[in-house]
Symmetry: none
Subunit: 196 residues, 4 copies
Amino acid sequence: MERTSTKRLPIFEAAVAVFSEKGFAKATMEEIARRAGIAKGTLYYNYRSKKELFLSLIEEGIERLEAAVKREIARRRDTSSKLEALIGAQLSFFEEYRDYCKLLLSEVWGLGSRWEKQLERLRSGYIGIIKDLLQRGQAEGIIRQDLEVNTAAMGVFGAVAVAALNAFLFERQYHYESLLQTLKNLLFLGLNEREG
Amino acid sequence: MERTSTKRLPIFEAAVAVFSEKGFAKATMEEIARRAGIAKGTLYYNYRSKKELFLSLIEEGIERLEAAVKREIARRRDTSSKLEALIGAQLSFFEEYRDYCKLLLSEVWGLGSRWEKQLERLRSGYIGIIKDLLQRGQAEGIIRQDLEVNTAAMGVFGAVAVAALNAFLFERQYHYESLLQTLKNLLFLGLNEREG
Amino acid sequence: MERTSTKRLPIFEAAVAVFSEKGFAKATMEEIARRAGIAKGTLYYNYRSKKELFLSLIEEGIERLEAAVKREIARRRDTSSKLEALIGAQLSFFEEYRDYCKLLLSEVWGLGSRWEKQLERLRSGYIGIIKDLLQRGQAEGIIRQDLEVNTAAMGVFGAVAVAALNAFLFERQYHYESLLQTLKNLLFLGLNEREG
Amino acid sequence: MERTSTKRLPIFEAAVAVFSEKGFAKATMEEIARRAGIAKGTLYYNYRSKKELFLSLIEEGIERLEAAVKREIARRRDTSSKLEALIGAQLSFFEEYRDYCKLLLSEVWGLGSRWEKQLERLRSGYIGIIKDLLQRGQAEGIIRQDLEVNTAAMGVFGAVAVAALNAFLFERQYHYESLLQTLKNLLFLGLNEREG
DNA sequence: GATGAATGAGTCTTCATTCAT
DNA sequence: GATGAATGAAGACTCATTCAT
């Protein structure tokens, strides 16, 4: 039940910025309001509480990630290309929304029990897409049969997420193409050099 | 300069439990003291502040992880076995200290700028070990040359960490062997079924 | 200067309901507006402030009580019947407007200094009627001379009010006739069994 | 489970003063602390919340009233004297603790549903004492049989309470003896002049 | 060494009131 | 006349930290 739409966008952006800089607990409604250029009361006019504001951010972000990835996948025919596109889409999403993604990993991923609903949303949403592709790939014989898909899906997500955040947040400079290529090589071909 | 008190072990355990359940900001010194069976003042007698207590936990944890992994690595001769052992050691460490590892990912990893020193410690410490092994492997020709080692090291760490936490924290039951095998297969051999 | 709006009646009823459920301080203009089926701004179009709305309620209520009692009194000839009628009228008013009367006792009576004007209104209004009747009765020799009229008038009001509210608000079921009879017996004849 | 006793007395007195001046909702913890000469945090160290502080006040007050009245009653032999003593004791309690009694009537009596437990405490406690005496009196034939005891007990309480508060809080000067005598005459003998 | 009562700065949240439409 | 989005002052409550015993 969205209220005014005029105010919600600036609030959204300010909130993502503050939450990702300070973390959920250290972020203050005061600062979010100030950065959004509105009064504190207006924040509460639009969102019932700090928690609701936070959760709506997470929800919205997960939806955007899903949408972005689905769009890219839909463009490819074969499962292999789809998986490749998925990795590319996740990486590019993490690059564009690095602040939001930091939030995603630190608050939602790290904690868990307190945000069960949102976690489940992520798992059945984005992780579910990876899992489906892996299963289809196994059926088609192009993905190794000896992979348990849940674990493998989490592994793929984790590898991209951690490598991406490390590069985008903590490296002064990074080479996007090299990052993407290394992740694809690692995940599709593995660490091992193929012998002869 | 550690104080010599015999109180530090129970404090350590209580602190890990509370911090990982509540997160840094929501954890209270009151509760840590209560769970450790001591008075709040005693906490401050042993640690200057909440932050110092927290950081000493993280420090200690990273050291344990490094030590555990190094021990396993030292037992193997060839680089390949060492890498395999490293993944096993990380997984087993995450299983044993799941609470601590949740902390590690949510507070230290997710945030960053605020704990730079600790992050750097993790990166140059544990991630550094992975990186060194990968480099040695490339020199020996058993690791793919087309992998940028920093990215690959982060990818390996992230894949294991995320898959492990998901299994240990959120799955009612998990099959440790299958988890380990899938991660090894994924990381060493890649997703692709080898043709021919 | 009452505004002419047709909105004032629904507002009145909603306001009495909300104020008596929550008390003055916990009642919100928001809820009063919602229950009256109007917008918050409209409330302020009709009443300058929360306090004014509240006071106009109290004023109105005291006037209704006075009017009801005066009407009943006017019907009787002798002072004794008038006093009897007064008690009956107060009891029946408290039964019909129990919410309003709860308000009256809790906010106006209990506090005092803050609403001096309204209190004075009540005292010189309704209590004044009782006092006048008692004085007339004393002059006529049908009311005990050893009663100080101010105190007695307050005592009569208090006995009826407290017994009435207790019955109407907190007893699941009550017997109106028995209530009335007991109050009349208590107040006119006293507790003591007459000897001889 | 009382905490420190050193701090609780000044808090008690400051709280009664502030609550009775402002009412529950308008009273602030800040002001109570200031008047008690302690920091706000200390208030919360001794009482979990504003509500708990308030309720403990009410509880304590009801107990004191009960104790005072029981003490006086115990000194008399016959039921009639006991009832007389009860009225005297209530009046003198209301004179001494006028602030507290204002609180009692405005917050607890007036509201009700929100403080059910405390109300019940009062009803079964103090009102119960009156009721018991009336019943015993009826059995002994010295109290009118045509009085329903619940109603009569409430009436007695209400008459004394309302007359007392009016005198002690709002009259510049009052004559205690006259007040007491009028109430006793009113309640024991009734309004009616005895004919013949 | 150990304790826990006391502190007060810092936050979330509520709500009467205003005003542009 | 009517609306409801926006405001900001005010207040309950938390908790890291201190210090006298």
